[in-house]
C-alpha cells in the first residue's frame, strides 16, 4: 500500500511537470553492454568481497527519449538481458545452475537532455517492470534503477552515450540487484 501510494505520488509529480510543455524532441536509440548481479546466491561460508558480484551477463535494448518539458527528458525503454550459468561443487560433485533471462520495460526520467550537443553528464532514475526467468524460478516484479550517463554528439542528430547504473527488482522485502554498464547510439527524429 505504501509502495503504491509512493508510485501514485511519483506519477502526479511527473504529470505536473508535463504542464510546462514546450517544443517536443523525440529520438530513438539502441544500447548494449554488461549487467552484473550483485549479492545474489552468495555462499556465506566462503564469502570474500569479490563474491559480491556474480558472473557478468549481457544486456541490450531500445530507448525512445522524449524531451517535451524543460529540465527533464522522459525515456521509455525495453531491455533484454542474459546472465551466465553458475558452476559450483557441492558434496564433491560439480553442478551448474542456470542463469536468469531477463526482460524489462519502463520509464526513465533524465535530468537534462541526453542528446544535447557537446560533452555532458546526465543523472537519471527509472521505474518499470522486470521479469527474470530460469528453470523453476520466475520473478515478475517492479524494477527500479538510477545511474549516471555521459553523452557526446559526434554528428548532427546523432549522440553516443555511456551509462552506468544500479538496478534492482523488488521481491517482497528484498530485491535482486544488478550493476549495468552500457554503450548506446541515439538518432534524433524530431526536431
Amino acid at each position: 500500500m505504501k509502495r503504491s501510494l509512493a508510485l501514485a505520488l511519483f506519477a502526479v509529480i511527473v504529470a505536473s511537470g508535463a504542464a510546462q510543455a514546450g517544443p517536443v524532441g523525440v529520438s530513438v536509440g539502441v544500447f548494449g553492454g554488461l549487467s552484473i548481479p550483485v549479492l545474489q546466491d552468495v555462499s556465506a561460508s566462503s564469502f570474500s568481497p569479490s563474491d559480491a558480484f556474480g558472473p557478468t551477463g549481457s544486456q541490450f535494448g531500445i530507448r525512445v527519449p522524449v524531451h517535451a518539458i524543460p529540465v527533464v527528458t522522459f525515456e521509455p525503454y525495453y531491455a533484454k538481458s542474459k546472465y551466465k550459468d553458475r558452476d559450483e561443487t557441492i558434496g564433491g560433485i560439480s553442478y551448474t545452475r542456470e542463469g536468469f533471462d531477463g526482460k524489462a520495460f519502463g520509464l526513465n526520467a533524465i535530468l537534462g537532455n541526453p542528446d544535447g550537443g557537446g560533452f555532458h553528464f546526465f543523472p537519471y532514475f527509472g521505474i518499470g517492470k522486470t521479469k527474470l526467468e530460469r528453470t523453476a524460478q520466475e520473478i515478475n516484479k517492479t524494477g527500479f534503477n538510477f545511474g549516471l550517463g555521459l553523452g557526446l554528439s559526434p554528428a548532427a542528430k546523432v549522440s553516443v552515450q555511456v551509462r552506468g547504473e544500479f538496478a534492482m527488482v523488488a521481491t517482497g522485502d528484498t530485491s535482486r540487484k544488478f550493476t549495468n554498464a552500457t554503450l548506446g547510439l541515439t538518432y534524433s527524429l524530431k526536431p
Binding site: 549479492l39 523453476a136 521481491t171 517482497g172 528484498t174
Partner: protein, 182 residues
C-alpha cells in the same frame, strides 16, 4: 533552482519506495546429507536436519525473508531391475521411521520433492535445474516454514507407495538460497 524541486522530490520518492529492499541479498546455504538407502523390503533411512547447526543459517535466521531457490542434489543409484521414481518427504517434527508405512502414518509428513526417475540398475547425478523444478508448492512452503521456525525436521527418500524399489543416495545435499535483509 526552483524548477529542479519537483525532480528532486520525485527522486526522493523513488528511493523511499525502494526503501529497505536496497539492503538485501540472496545467501546460499548447503547442507550435506549422509549416504543412505531406501528399500521397500529392508526399510528406509531418515536424515534429521537441524538448520541451527549451520552457522550461515544461524547468522542470517533473524534476517530471513523468503526462500529464493532450492535443490536436492546427489548421486542416485537404482539397485533394482525396475525403474524407480524417487520422492523426498519431510516430517516437520524430527522422527526416526524405518518403514514407508510408518512414515505415511505420520500426520506431520509432507511430500517435498519428486518424482525423480532412475532407470533400472542405473546411477544418475541429478541436474540442479531439474532438481529445482521437482519441488512441490507445499514442499517449498514447508521448508520455508521450517527455515523461519525451529529449523529441525527429518527428510526421507522413498519410492512410490505400493511398488518394489531399492535405491541409494551418495554425496547428497540440500541447497537453500534464502532472501535476507542485510
Amino acid at each position: 533552482m526552483r524548477r529542479y524541486g519537483w525532480m528532486i522530490l520525485a527522486l526522493g520518492l523513488g528511493l523511499m519506495t525502494a526503501g529497505c529492499i536496497l539492503t538485501s541479498g540472496q545467501v546460499q546455504i548447503d547442507f550435506n546429507l549422509p549416504n543412505f538407502t531406501a528399500s521397500s523390503t529392508t526399510g528406509i533411512d531418515g536424515t534429521t536436519i537441524d538448520l541451527n547447526t549451520e552457522s550461515e543459517y544461524k547468522d542470517n535466521k533473524e534476517k530471513l525473508k523468503d526462500l529464493s531457490d532450492l535443490a536436492v542434489l546427489g548421486k542416485f543409484t537404482n539397485n533394482s531391475t525396475n525403474a524407480v521414481n524417487v520422492e523426498v518427504w519431510m516430517t516437520t517434527t524430527p522422527s526416526s521411521h524405518t518403514t514407508e508405512a510408518a512414515l505415511m502414518a505420520d500426520p506431520t509428513r509432507i511430500k517435498v520433492w519428486g518424482p525423480f526417475q532412475i532407470a533400472p540398475s542405473a546411477t544418475k547425478v541429478i541436474d540442479w535445474n531439474q532438481s529445482a523444478a521437482l519441488f512441490s508448492a507445499a514442499g517449498k512452503a514447508a521448508l520455508l516454514g521450517q527455515a523461519k521456525g525451529d529449523g529441525n525436521f527429518t527428510l526421507y527418500a522413498v519410492g512410490p507407495a505400493g511398488t518394489a524399489y531399492d535405491f541409494s543416495v551418495a554425496n547428497g545435499a540440500l541447497v537453500l538460497v534464502i532472501d535476507v535483509g542485510i
